[in-house]
């Protein structure tokens, strides 16, 4: 039980730290980013909703009062969901923009991450099962080699070869000109076609971490005493590998799964930008190049909170799967 309490405590503490970091980053910058943004917002031809302006003030900090009062206002704004208005996509609010982009990233990242995990774990287990054979060296050396390739460069080459030279897939975007987002077959098939190349770009380098992690863990578990005992009892090799090796070796990868999400989000910024894919990553980069601070800040906060929640869930799952962790913390 203590394990879960400690994990929950860590989750709350990191959440608070992330929210505070988000408060501090715009305020420690030289110059006054918030003031500059407000001036531009007010210079807009359309009238700006004063409520929204107030929210932007609270998030970025231009109102008077000391830092503590600003912090209090900021926390209040976050708790009531007032993230302000987007500068570059005015009059949409920041939350609306994130809501539109979120499903694209969630599906692309979710699917590729699950496939990478499954493929990587299987290949890693296979390499460990056939340790020091040709299969092992092909898998290990192959993944080391692919791992050295810069992955945004792979994405560029994919566009060059498959979209421009061969013309098999569209160059970029989320869906084509003929369809619009909705529950229609045309839209889904179109969106699928557009997501093939970004997904492949993520899948080429995606499984590498899992392959190496799984192989090393499993080589270790197969050398443990219980695996030796299983061999002495004459159990079939395959059964030893699956129930004595792989089942235990997969445990650290569960926590790794959530940690990798953070890294993967970084990857999606690159992939979405290259493929002009309408997800969170491209939105973040657009916000940065347009100096759309409210959108930038909210995006950073949302992605960080997402990763923190994923980590917490992984910790909880891990606690259920592996009783040793619970006991170690209780001692």
């Amino acid at each position: 039980m203590l394990y879960f309490v400690r994990r929950a405590g860590f989750f709350v503490a990191t959440l608070w730290a992330a929210v505070t970091l988000n408060f501090l980053i715009p305020r420690i910058q030289p110059g006054d980013p918030a003031q500059a943004l407000l001036a531009r917002l007010q210079g807009n031809t359309q009238a700006v909703n004063p409520v929204q302006l107030e929210a932007v003030r609270k998030m970025l900090g231009t109102q008077d009062g000391n830092l503590l009062a600003q912090y209090w206002d900021y926390l209040g704004a976050i708790c009531t969901g007032q993230f302000g208005v987007s500068y570059s996509y005015y009059p949409y609010t920041v939350t609306e923009m994130i809501g539109t982009a979120l499903p694209w990233t969630l599906i692309l990242v979710g699917v590729t991450q699950l496939v990478s995990f499954a493929v990587g774990t299987l290949l890693g287990a296979w390499a460990a099962y056939r340790r020091n054979s040709r299969v092992d060296s092909v898998i290990t050396l192959g993944s080391t080699f692919v791992g050295t390739l810069p992955f945004f460069w792979i994405a560029l080459l994919l566009i060059f070869v498959f979209a421009i030279t061969l013309n098999w897939f569209p160059e970029g975007g989320g869906y084509g000109g003929g369809s619009s987002p909705g529950w229609s077959w045309l839209f889904f098939s179109d969106a699928f076609q557009h997501s093939v190349l970004p997904a492949v770009a993520l899948l080429i380098t995606g499984p590498i971490g899992w392959i190496i992690g799984m192989r090393n863990n499993m080589v270790q578990t197969l050398g443990e005493d219980y695996a030796r005992l299983a061999r002495a009892r004459g159990l079939p090799r395959r059964r030893i590998a699956l129930t004595y090796g792989a089942r235990i070796a997969i445990l650290p990868n569960v926590t790794g799964f959530a940690i990798a999400l953070g890294g993967l989000l970084g990857g999606t910024v690159l992939v979405e930008t290259i493929f002009n894919y309408p997800g969170l990553g491209r939105l973040l980069l657009e916000a940065v190049s347009n100096k759309d601070y409210p959108l930038m800040q909210a995006l950073f906060l949302f992605t960080t909170i997402g990763v923190l929640i994923a980590n917490f869930l992984a910790d909880v799952t891990y606690g259920f799967l592996d009783p040793r962790v619970r006991r170690a913390e209780a001692v």
């Binding site: 990191t14 080391t144 460069w153 030279t165 890294g263 970084g266 990763v307």
Partner: protein, 300 residues
Amino acid sequence: MTSIDTEGVRVTALAAGRVSRLPGWFVILWRNRKCRIGLVMLAAFVAVAVLAPVVAPYGPRVDEFAASTGPSGAHWLGTTARGEDVFSQLVYGARTSLVVGLVAGLLTTVIAVAVGLTAGYLQGVVDEVLSFFINLGLVIPVLPLMIVLAGYAPVKGLGLIIIVITVTGWAFGARIKRAQIITLRTRDYITAAKFAGDSTARIIAFEIVPNMISLIVVGFMGSALGAIGAEAGLAFLGLGDPQTTSWGTMLNQASLGGALTTGQWAWLVAPGLVLALLITSFTLINFGIDALSNPHLRED
């Protein structure tokens, strides 16, 4: 986790050093074939970077040539959309990558060692607090944080990129160093030094750090590699310094300048390929450093 026999490394390094005049650690690295290839590759990159004005046929920013041409005798890798020589940019780009790797790698390592050592050696409340920051640094998504930090900054420059990479990259190394020092701090010779009346600072500097050298070197290699990749990624996203020639900005300009549609494959392929080669050289050297730490992997 990686457990490294740090004391064993020193002993064998000394033994290997006795037979030749070179330092012992170098002999072990050189004997490993993969590592030797990596070292030669890295040396070649350093040579090209140092001698860039000699190697490159033109300046990286000279834009007086016909724009967007393919590879030719005068321009081995063609020219950019602005009429600059791609090969010359490639040569000068090696400087940026190596400088970022070296400086950001060193800064990251210094912070990681300082935080990891303090947390692991002092334990108690200090450790709890520092460990919290280490874990925080591990879970916060790095690239979005880098992008946000770079996005707010009023000036774009290589210094900014290095700072951003350092601020976001120290946590992983700190965690490993903390784990290592926790196993070291209860060894007999540390207890002996304590009884002899040595100060904590002296024990850390003279008893513990020398025994962690190989771990620190591995950490530095990893940080430098991460920094080189991060710089290329940020520059590719257009967040780098537009005045600096780097492989990331080259790829950025290649994709913006229409290398994809005009079929200038050399402009597109070359920067990524050299980046991959540089990363490969680091990976190969790491095989040798593993051998340094683990006698079973050594090739005599």
